[in-house]
């Protein structure tokens, strides 16, 4: 009796399980075929005001157009990569993911992203280097609506007072910086800390002189590093730059402690909030007159993670197209002091019309270069070598040529 009872119990349990499996099997196609995606999950690192609100509004507008709600998660910039790795390991990646552009290829190489070609998205009409940064092994994995770069900011009053004009060549940069240096201020500042920020700031000097990240042990790169060493030895640049971030440099510039700085357009809102500070922006000087200033491209790209939910992936791809519409590129760029990545005259002219202060940056982006275009996954290693060499040379531990050789070992 007991035996049969137990058996019948077991049978009911099995039957119930089988039914449940069958039911879920029946239910499955309904969610997949119906394409009833009514919400998607988004992850980004625009954690500070006003960026947080600007992107929140854009995502919601695009979501409304597509008839979906957006579940957005925002993490601090430094936490994004570890968050993505965690989510990758636990198979909980969002439907739409924002990545800093030099990190896209690393994530794409893990197989965590869906190539955008699957949804018919191409990079046509975009700045080609922006597309190169978002491409891994010939496939486009991300689309970046806006980009930024760095240029030379100068204090108009200080230059007038010293009777000099903004420098365009390296020789002029040295002279002008020297002329602007007084007892209580430095002529120039850049940021050269022991992290990727230091690399980022050095790149325009290295690239404009023909240096290359695939091999930094070259005379071209050594000359660029020599310029930085000379500027320090002239006393035109403070040794503190070895430990200054770009934000620190900006603070010093605002306080009038430095007359010129290498910095990015994201500082413009802060700079413009000082009514007494008159500043302007020019391209970073080139080695010789008439040279092309090659600056690095910054900004974030949007990608579709491989979640297995095809309907949601397709919806996320539509979101990316919406974020990258001409209209939205211009509006994002104007609000965030960045440059649209679509290079058509129509987009760029409309943009400069709306944001005249950004003219220099709009010009510079045309010739700017992506950090990961050549090295892809090996970029972090090269970037570490570059800032290590910069630090070795600026501290006087090694000559520029030796510093580059040592760092590359």
């Amino acid at each position: 009796m007991t035996e049969t009872l137990r058996a019948s119990h077991a049978w009911t349990a099995t039957a119930a399980m089988a039914l449940a499996v069958a039911a879920s099997a029946l239910a499955m196609p309904a969610t997949a075929i119906g394409a009833e995606v009514d919400s998607i999950r988004v992850l980004d690192y625009y954690n500070d005001s006003p960026d947080r609100e600007i992107y929140g509004e854009l995502l919601n507008t695009c979501g409304a157009e597509l008839g979906i709600t957006i579940n957005r998660e925002v993490v601090p910039g430094s936490a994004l990569m570890s968050k993505v790795l965690q989510q990758g390991a636990s198979r909980t990646l969002p439907d739409l993911l924002m990545l800093d552009n030099p990190e896209l290829q690393q994530i794409a190489s893990t197989g965590a992203l869906v190539p955008l070609g699957k949804f018919g998205i191409t990079g046509e009409g975009f700045q080609s280097q922006v597309i190169a940064a978002s491409t891994y092994e010939g496939e486009l994995y991300g689309l970046q609506p806006i980009t930024n770069t760095i240029a030379l900011f100068y204090n108009v009053d200080m230059l007038e007072e010293a009777g000099v004009t903004p420098p365009t060549t390296w020789a002029e940069l040295r002279e002008t910086a020297k002329a602007l240096t007084t007892d209580d201020r430095y002529g120039l500042a850049f940021a050269a800390p022991a992290n990727y920020e230091g690399t980022w700031q050095f790149l325009p000097f290295m690239w404009s002189n023909g240096g290359d990240e695939t091999n930094i042990d070259t005379p071209e790169t050594a000359e660029a590093l020599q310029l930085w060493v000379d500027l320090l030895n002239d006393g035109s640049v403070s040794r503190s730059v070895l430990n200054w971030t770009q934000a620190d440099v900006n603070d010093q510039f605002r306080q009038g402690n430095i007359a010129m700085m290498v910095n990015g357009p994201w500082q413009i809102p802060l700079l413009s909030s000082d009514a007494d500070l008159h500043y302007d922006v020019v391209a970073i000087p080139t080695p010789e007159a008439g040279g092309t200033s090659v600056a690095p491209l910054g900004g974030e790209t949007w990608a579709v993670p491989n979640t297995g939910n095809e309907a949601a992936e397709a919806m996320a791809a539509k979101m990316i197209q919406c974020i990258n519409s001409d209209q939205n590129q211009i509006s994002l760029a104007v609000q965030r002091q960045t440059v649209p990545t679509k290079m058509s005259d129509a987009v760029q002219e409309e943009f400069v019309k709306q944001a005249p202060k950004m003219k220099t940056f709009s010009e510079m982006v045309k010739s700017a270069r992506a950090r990961t275009a050549k090295l892809g996954n090996d970029w972090p290693k090269a970037a570490t070598e570059i800032y290590t060499a910069v630090q070795l040379a600026l501290t006087g531990k090694a000559s520029p040529a030796d510093a580059l050789k040592q760092a590359q070992q």
Partner: protein, 312 residues
């Protein structure tokens, strides 16, 4: 008869055994929560980290779950890198410098607070402040205090006409010293608190007896305070060493390991490898070396604890 007896005794024995077994089972059940906790939160991460040190564990491993076994390759790579030897020496100097500074100043302050004076309690609690501040806040503040051009420290040295603007955090010869000074400042409260409580435990009678024999001042310290404080001192020093070996946030906040790796330690290098370059295998190998060094001191600590227990 004989067999019956033996059978009975064996039955009794087995009953006893089963009783004992039950008891043991219950004992084990009481241990289970602690064992599960230790296995889950200490055992797993440590084993995982040791294993990771032998794997080519990269970003890809998180998504695919695959990390090829590479034997000692990670260890070879980090030990042969040019940063390793200087990071090793820096870790040594940083630990010794911090401990010596923290301990001597901490002991001096603890001895001072042993005297009764007005506001003693208030001042003693104020001493704890550096301990209460988040390390990231302390390091950000010290970064500005130590700034070469506009930092308060150099301004004060200027006023006293003592210096020509040393670049505390920007010259390779000074950066490690500056980081050690800040770490001493942070470590003093810990030393004061533990040493002060150790001092409180020394019976007053000993000093009175000593006084009768003419032992005051230095003599009293040398022959009463120091021997009585010995067990506390060894705890403070060993815990201090283990805490100092793993200091990371402070150095990252102050110098980021720069300039030119002048303040790079094994801990910062491990962080750099794992979370900046995403070479998790090499980062884990570096962390394992650090754990091994800490373990060495932990073993010394346990051994001294044991022998101290025996002697008392």
């Amino acid at each position: 008869m004989q067999t019956r007896m033996s059978r009975r005794s064996s039955v009794l024995a087995s009953r006893k055994l089963s009783n004992r077994r039950k008891e043991r089972l219950i004992e084990m059940l009481f241990l289970v929560p602690a064992i599960v906790y230790i296995l889950a939160f200490f055992g797993y991460p440590v084993v995982k980290n040791i294993v990771m040190g032998f794997q080519d564990y990269t970003m890809k491993s998180f998504f695919t779950g695959e990390a090829p076994w590479v034997g000692l390759k990670n260890y070879e790579a980090i030990i042969s890198s040019s940063v390793f030897s200087s990071a090793f020496v820096n870790t040594f100097l940083f630990t010794i410098g911090s401990i010596v500074g923290q301990f001597t100043i901490g002991l001096a302050i603890a001895l001072y607070f042993r005297k009764r004076f007005p506001l003693n309690d208030l001042l003693r609690s104020l001493i704890l402040l550096p301990w209460l501040l988040p390390l990231i806040v302390s390091s950000a503040i010290w970064r500005w205090l130590l700034d070469q051009d506009n930092g308060a420290i150099n301004r004060i040295l200027d006023m006293m006409q003592l210096s020509d603007h040393p670049g505390w955090l920007t010259t390779t010869s000074l950066a490690l010293t500056a980081v050690i000074i800040v770490n001493i400042w942070i470590g003093i409260p810990f030393n004061v608190v533990i040493l002060y409580s150790g001092l409180q435990d020394i019976p007053e009678e000993l000093y009175e007896a000593g006084q009768l024999d003419g032992a005051t001042g230095w003599q009293a310290f040398r022959w009463i305070t120091w021997p009585m404080l010995r067990p506390v001192v060894s705890v403070v020093l060993l815990l201090g060493v283990i805490y100092t070996l793993k200091v990371l946030d402070l150095i990252l906040g102050l110098t980021g390991g720069g300039p030119a790796n002048a303040s790079q330690t094994l801990a910062t290098q491990s962080y750099q490898l794992s979370f900046v370059q995403f070479e998790f295998g090499q980062g884990a190998a570096m962390a394992n070396i650090l754990v091994l060094i800490s373990l060495l001191f932990a073993v010394i600590y346990l051994y001294m604890n044991k022998s101290a227990g025996k002697s008392s």
